[in-house]
């Protein structure tokens, strides 16, 4: 289903417009990320779609039908909604929370039960173990998963997500982002996703819409935006949040690195990560700061101490520098200025980088 904004303006009394003259079409089955600094109008834009806010001017259509024509409650029951801090009802079990909209739609009990089982299975949560727990008996990541499942419950074609992973620690956030990507590949929903984290936007978005003080300043695929920011604001926004140089002539360490970490397990405040293309595991603390690498054998033997002294390199180290070191090792961790592990260069990631260069910049 498409969502179309035509000349939409939202003004709160006595203030500058929160959203000004917005024209935007969200395509069927795409994940569109709305991003920008706080107060830029991204959340207001999202909330106008399910009429939690009413536009001052202009109109919004779903598949060509003006949303004003729907009964408010019926419109909302047909649109999934997830917020930051989960918004789970603390007095309801996981199952009851997921069932809210199906109940409002008066689904029979068997159908609801079956749906809850199906949804929990999608994120590998055992029905018997979790269905009857209360939200506070779950970890933050589990709660947020339930929040996402709840928005999928009645199988709505459109889902609104308002910074759903904003309150999570970096590892859980990454796990949930990966899960959402998988879900989306399978379900092909039209998702409008608000965030202020450009990494998240680039990782998840089919397209990204960048907002600044109520205006949509750029709309495009992540590659387009990173490559051709339309103005200084977009460029600085990307740069500030994402140390990523895209010019082919000045490739930096991060361009060559694989960034798709998979959390393997955690021990107290230490987390073990694995990454495709490397046999080693990487040890970080709860703030994702790099501690060291561990060989597979030691992880299996539960020896959770860094056993290899691998000097990490910085995100902006040059290619020449990297290649000269890479002769002697087969993996190279990449850290940012805060010593946070952001990627690992492996033979695989180097080959991918070369492939990207040869094949233009499409990934």
């Amino acid at each position: 289903m498409t969502v179309t904004f035509s000349e939409v303006t939202k003004v709160y009394q006595g203030k500058k417009p929160a959203v000004e003259n917005l024209n935007l079409e969200v395509h069927t089955g795409e994940l569109l990320v709305l991003i920008g600094p706080s107060g830029c109008g991204k959340t207001t834009t999202l909330r106008m779609i399910n009429r939690l806010e009413e536009p001052t001017h202009g109109k919004i259509q779903i598949d060509g039908r003006d949303i004003e024509k729907f009964k408010e409650e019926e419109l909302r029951r047909g649109i999934g909604y997830t917020v930051q801090q989960t918004g789970l009802f603390p007095h309801m079990t996981v199952k009851d929370n997921i069932e809210v909209v199906p109940r409002l739609l008066k689904w029979p009990k068997d159908k609801r039960d079956e749906r809850v089982r199906e949804l929990l299975a999608m994120v590998n949560m055992d029905f018997e173990e979790f269905a009857h727990r209360y939200p506070r008996q779950l970890s933050g990541g589990q709660q947020q998963r339930i929040g996402v499942l709840r928005s999928l419950a009645a199988d709505p074609p459109i889902i609104l997500m308002d910074e759903p992973f904003g309150a999570l620690d970096p590892i859980s956030r990454e796990v949930l982002q990966i899960e959402l990507k998988k879900l989306q590949a399978r379900l092909q929903k039209t998702i409008i996703f608000v965030t202020h984290d450009i990494d998240e936007a680039i990782r998840l978005g089919d397209r990204i819409a960048i907002f600044q003080t109520g205006q949509l300043v750029q709309l495009g695929s992540p590659q387009e935006i990173v490559k051709n920011p339309v103005n200084e604001f977009v460029a600085s926004f990307i740069k500030k949040n994402y140390q990523f140089e895209t010019s082919n002539l000045s490739l930096k360490a991060l361009d060559l690195a694989s960034v798709d970490f998979h959390p393997y397990e955690s021990h107290d405040d230490r987390i073990i990560l694995s990454i495709d293309g490397s046999d080693d595991f990487y040890l970080v603390d709860s703030d994702h700061r790099f501690i060291g690498t561990i060989s597979k054998e030691n992880v299996k033997a539960n020896q959770i101490t860094a056993d290899k002294v691998l000097q990490p390199i910085r995100v902006y180290d040059s290619v020449q520098n990297i290649l000269s070191i890479f002769k002697d090792v087969n993996t190279l961790p990449v850290v940012d200025d805060g010593n946070k592990l952001v990627g690992v260069i492996t033979s695989l990631s180097l080959m991918n980088a070369v492939a990207r260069l040869v094949g233009g910049n499409e990934s």
């Binding site: 399910n50 939690l52 409650e73 019926e74 419109l75 909302r76 029951r77 047909g78 909604y81 917020v83 801090q85 918004g87 009802f89 603390p90 007095h91 309801m92 079990t93 809210v100 909209v101 409002l104 209360y134 939200p135 506070r136 709840r150 609104l160």
Partner: protein, 213 residues
């Protein structure tokens, strides 16, 4: 034990009569108070500007000493159970009104937003979310009103409404300590038992997901 046995054998018919009168006074005024104050609290939680005015007005009512209140009502409504019930009803309002209002206002706004965003009508939000979460505080308000009413109802004896106050004031007038105790102890017991009952109810209405482990 012997003393209690003696009091009981001497005054049992009066105790039982006073007890029923007391229960009648407290019960009727509490039920009427709840019927008015809880829906009013719900309404005010959606109209906060009005709320300040109404709650202030009801608070002022509460500051009138009960003895004075009964005295004022006497020339207007005369004596008997009816004027006493009216005074007690007015006194019962504030704790229940204030707790209903506060309970509903303290529901996390995110939850209300989500309930709305998922397509609940305002009535469904009230029933399935807001009242469920505010229930423990509302019951705490009813408990408080009940305890107050049990003690104030003894004053109702002054305008001829009966109750344990009859025994206490008769005891004071006749320098009869036995009578005073016969009135005062059951009053305290009644307040205590009511408090226990509502504490249990409060535990029962607290959603399992919010109970302390």
């Amino acid at each position: 034990m012997n003393y209690i046995g003696y009091l009981w054998s001497t005054y049992n018919s009066q105790i039982i009569q006073a007890m029923w009168q007391q229960i009648y006074l407290v019960g009727i005024s509490l039920v009427c108070g709840a019927i008015v104050s809880i829906p009013l609290g719900i309404y005010l939680s959606k109209h906060t500007r009005l709320a300040t005015w109404v709650i202030t007005a009801v608070s002022i009512l509460q500051t009138i000493p009960s003895l004075a209140f009964f005295a004022i009502i006497l020339p207007i409504l005369g004596i008997g159970a009816t004027p006493a019930l009216i005074v007690l009803f007015l006194y019962s309002l504030l704790p229940m009104l204030r707790n209903t209002y506060t309970g509903l206002r303290s529901v996390d706004p995110t939850l209300i937003d989500v309930a709305k965003g998922m397509g609940m009508t305002s009535f469904q939000r009230l029933i399935f979310v807001e009242l469920r979460l505010a229930a423990p505080l509302i019951v705490a308000g009813i408990r408080l009103s009940t305890i107050y009413l049990v003690s104030w109802a003894t004053m109702a004896s002054l305008i001829g409404a009966g109750g344990f106050g009859d025994l206490i004031f008769a005891g004071i007038d006749n320098y009869n300590n036995d009578l005073i105790i016969t009135g005062a102890v059951p009053t305290a017991l009644m307040a205590f038992i009511a408090s226990m009952i509502f504490t249990l109810i409060r535990r029962y209405v607290t959603p399992i997901g919010l109970r302390r482990a």
